[in-house]
Symmetry: C2
Subunit: 248 residues, 2 copies
């Protein structure tokens, strides 16, 4: 416990591990990659650490718990002139992005789970997941596009018009709902980029339950749209005979 030469407290590697909440293997690893300086050894080549090592490891652990990479931590601790602020800000941005991604994921998972609870066919559940996943991918891909704001506004207009029809008691097969359904269908085809799998997935989604946050369309409205679409004559949505997915 006391070093005979200097009279100061020292730690064996196991003690250090317990004190810092790390494992012995981790300490070996840190030494191996140069994050922790090689400790002086006994005659039998066992490591003896001192208080500076303890302090450094506490800092390392705190920074590691922030999710920083060991390389970043090393540069933050060793490179006095540099990094710190930049690394922290970059990391904050990464965390924010990840948070957003996980948030979307959670709403998706919530829907999938409620589906799975009600609906017993695994095929359908997976198809719904596929559909939502597709919509999100396309949605975020198109969001960068130039006309996406117009498109979103147009969707809201369509929704409002359809809701008006519904509230006015018009049958789904009446002329006005059918015209709106025709436009909606055209937009879905456009949105899916002619990809039949996407369209099938969207159809599946429509039949079950639409994520609430996608455009603010209520399930009732979706059902109304679905019925209106069902009353449309069968349109060829893609050049006939195309078996499945293709690139445009």
């Amino acid at each position: 416990m006391k070093d005979r030469a200097t009279g100061r407290r020292h730690w064996r590697i196991g003690e250090l591990a317990e004190a810092t909440g790390l494992t012995v293997r981790t300490l070996h690893h840190y030494e191996h990659i140069g994050l922790l300086a090689p400790a002086p050894r006994t005659e039998g080549r066992q490591r003896r650490y001192d208080a500076r090592d303890v302090r450094r490891l506490y800092r390392i652990r705190a920074l590691r718990d922030l999710g920083l990479s060991l390389a970043d931590i090393r540069s933050m601790l060793d490179d006095h002139r540099a990094a710190l602020v930049d690394v922290l800000r970059a990391h904050r941005a990464r965390v924010a992005a990840e948070l957003e991604r996980l948030g979307r994921l959670q709403t998706l998972l919530d829907h999938a789970c409620t589906q799975a609870d009600r609906d017993l066919d695994p095929e359908d559940v997976i198809a719904t997941i596929e559909a939502m996943s597709r919509v999100m991918r396309h949605g975020s891909a198109r969001r960068n596009g130039p006309a996406s704001k117009d498109a979103e506004a147009r969707w809201r207009e369509l929704g409002a018009a359809l809701q008006a029809c519904m509230k006015a008691g018009e049958a789904p097969s009446a002329p006005r709902p059918r015209a709106l359904a025709r436009e909606a269908l055209a937009r879905i085809v456009e949105f899916s980029g002619g990809d039949r799998a996407t369209m099938e997935a969207l159809a599946h989604l429509r039949r079950l339950e639409f994520p609430k946050d996608l455009a603010g369309w209520s399930p009732a409205l979706m059902r109304y749209l679905d019925q209106a679409m069902a009353s449309l004559p069968k349109t060829r949505r893609a050049p006939a005979g195309r078996p499945s997915q293709e690139e445009p």
Copy 2:
């Protein structure tokens, strides 16, 4: 493009990769681990895929984008009788936990970044991060303890009492604030488990800025407490001569 034997559409591995948004290497990998069935080969041992493979890969990709492991995906797609609902629910729980963790992390990072913006000494910034990290660890560790609710309530009482003193215009060195500060100090010592590093880190935190969400203590109240503590006689907080961190 057309298979001469069956007359059906087929895909070369590069086409399949582009169609599904994966890479050729990924497809090799999936075959290697048994997630994708080995495709039939040409005479020259090149793989030829069909529409079933495309469908499977779309599903795989959707499930992968949920963050599921490839092993889980395989069992979900192959094991008809099983898993799906359980896997989804377990994954939702994992995602929720991760979301919570990242949320805490973000508030911590926000504080650290604002610190780093104002305060130019990297040492102090790291010390603050260390302090917050410690507080969170201990906080969540102790939360499971039996008396944690009492402790939290007592902290709120202390805060309220101190705030009353402050509003009443009592000097921080007046008897009542000093008594309260003494109890706060005792509780901090107890909380830190006699760990001097934790106490130093807490002190550091107190001097800078306290995370708002920790106990609802305002910065002004913290300063008031700090002044009251400063007016206390120096207490020996741990058996003298103990150099730094120890286990209890």
